[in-house]
């Protein structure tokens, strides 16, 4: 139980940072793209393992996720962020499907990565989560002021000597690392809602970026804990419930806000 609680804290920290970065960068869809790229990496590791070449999923998933996140960043320079992400998404999904179609008899493992299962977090997953969280917090902490400047005022940031291309690449890499770290717990398909809904709510109500990070952390942690609690009573996936809670909260909050106006 302690391991699960620790995992929830680490997942919430990662989602707090990366969810906010994605929302501020107006690249929410990147989460979906990156999680499916990670899935392609997972599929390749499962395929190699099934062929007798034992492979851990984390390294390949991270490589795929970062590579496709960078592809999205590069492609967006020629058009816009939506097009860049869409191209990266389509390509990574196609690769994932190709690898998955080559695998025989391990659908349960694929299912675990598609929809995740917080209650089945292993010691190995916890190590990956800890390592990724430390890396993401370090990078985010070191570059915090630059990120905020670049996200708020890209032209002004460039004119102050900030390298926007490098910063964008690091931002995308942070998001990719976070998504890979939580994919086993929340799943590739559900990652989108659990990353974006809490940050989108927080952005509307926060009085500062730091407050937005704290609110996101709180909403994510509560959604995950409620998801787990309900799943102990009813035989339903905890991560699916957490995503359901976060998304419903988003819809309720914004509906109430609209009614108030």
């Amino acid at each position: 139980m302690v391991e699960i609680f620790l995992a929830l804290i680490l997942i919430s920290l990662l989602i707090s940072i990366s969810g906010n970065l994605a929302v501020f960068r107006k690249a929410s869809f990147l989460i979906a793209s990156v999680s499916h790229s990670a899935l392609a990496g997972v599929a390749l590791s499962l395929l190699l393992t099934s062929l007798g070449f034992e492979q851990d999923y984390f390294l390949l998933a991270t490589l795929f996720a970062i590579a496709f996140a960078l592809l999205a960043s590069l492609t967006s320079r020629f058009s816009d962020i939506d097009t860049g992400v869409a191209i990266s998404f389509a390509l990574s999904m196609a690769i994932a499907v190709v690898f998955l179609s080559l695998i025989r008899g391990i659908s349960a493992k694929i299912w675990a990565f598609l929809f995740g299962e917080i209650l089945l977090v292993t010691e190995q997953d916890l190590i990956y989560l800890t390592f990724s969280t430390i890396l993401v917090i370090l990078l985010f902490g070191l570059l915090y002021n630059k990120f905020i400047f670049f996200l708020f005022d890209p032209e002004g940031a460039k004119a102050s000597g900030i390298n926007p291309k490098l910063l964008d690449i690091i931002l995308f890499a942070i998001i990719a690392t976070s998504v890979v770290a939580v994919i086993r717990s929340v799943g590739a398909i559900l990652a989108y809602s659990i990353f974006i809904a809490p940050s989108a709510i927080a952005k509307e109500f926060a009085q500062s970026v730091k407050q937005s990070l704290i609110i996101t952390f709180g909403i994510t942690l509560i959604s995950l804990m409620l998801g787990i609690s309900v799943s102990l009573i009813f035989p339903v996936s905890a991560s699916a419930l957490a995503a359901l809670i976060a998304s419903t909260l988003y819809i309720v909050v914004f509906s109430l806000r609209r009614l108030k106006k």
């Binding site: 708020f152 005022d153 002004g156 000597g161 952005k203 970026v209």
Partner: protein
């Protein structure tokens, strides 16, 4: 010399944005750049910052901005408000401290921002948002101040306030505008731009029927104010 350009050109792919611009701007001059949309006004500012690599000879504060990034330490740039991510939850204080400069309470007092520090930038009016951006630029104590359409969405009173402040700034100022009238009495020279440099000089030298036709492709009436300055009368077109 603050800026010295010779045969400065820039193209976006095959589309020419600036063609063979040659001009000089002295230290401390206050310059307004005018022209229609797509005339290359913002492109010119970005070339001066070295963000776009223009062809031709260019010296800004003695540096070639395309090669020497140190020049950016001496320049402040106020971008168009439309380029900002206004939905971010940032306080005025946070926006002001982005450039790693210390808060200058005198500037904040002058721009009436002292009591707004804890407010969210996104909740300020357009005029106050512009004041914050100008305050941020001034706190850097620049040698060259570049402003891109600072009057967009700003009421007349705030426009006057901004002009007042800019007049007191001890730096070379280049401001890109659509409407020169709020600032005409304060500027030293006016640059009329439409990809090419159409005219560059004092208002009485620049605002001539033929120049306005070259720049805007329509006839814009010109009137002389009590102080003897020629003003273009925008919005009163004669086809």
């Amino acid at each position: 010399m603050a800026v010295e350009a010779k045969n400065l050109s820039y193209s976006y792919g095959k589309k020419k944005a600036l063609e063979n611009l040659s001009f000089k701007i002295d230290d401390g001059e206050f310059i307004a750049v005018l022209g229609p949309n797509g005339a290359g006004k913002t492109t010119l500012l970005k070339c001066l910052l070295g963000l776009l690599k223009a062809e031709g000879e260019l010296l800004v504060l003695g540096f070639d901005p395309r090669k020497d990034r140190r020049v950016l330490e001496r320049i402040s740039y106020v971008p168009q408000r439309s380029s900002l991510a206004l939905d971010l939850p940032l306080t005025v204080e946070k926006v002001l401290s982005m450039c790693d400069t210390e808060l200058d309470w005198e500037i904040l007092e002058q721009l009436e921002l002292k009591d707004k520090m804890k407010m969210l930038f996104r909740e300020l009016s357009g005029g106050y948002q512009q004041r914050v951006l100008i305050a941020r630029a001034l706190m850097k104590k620049p040698k060259l101040l570049l402003l891109d359409e600072p009057f967009n969405g700003v009421d007349l009173l705030t426009q006057e306030k901004i002009v007042e402040i800019l007049e007191d700034v001890n730096a070379t100022i280049i401001v890109v505008l659509h409407n020169i009238n709020p600032i005409l009495h304060a500027v030293d020279r006016i640059m009329l731009l439409n990809r090419e440099l159409i005219a560059f000089g004092r208002s009485n030298e620049v605002f001539r029927k033929e120049n306005m036709l070259k720049v805007y492709k329509i006839e814009i009436p010109l009137i002389v104010c009590e102080e003897g300055f020629i003003h273009p009368l925008y919005g009163d077109h004669h086809g």
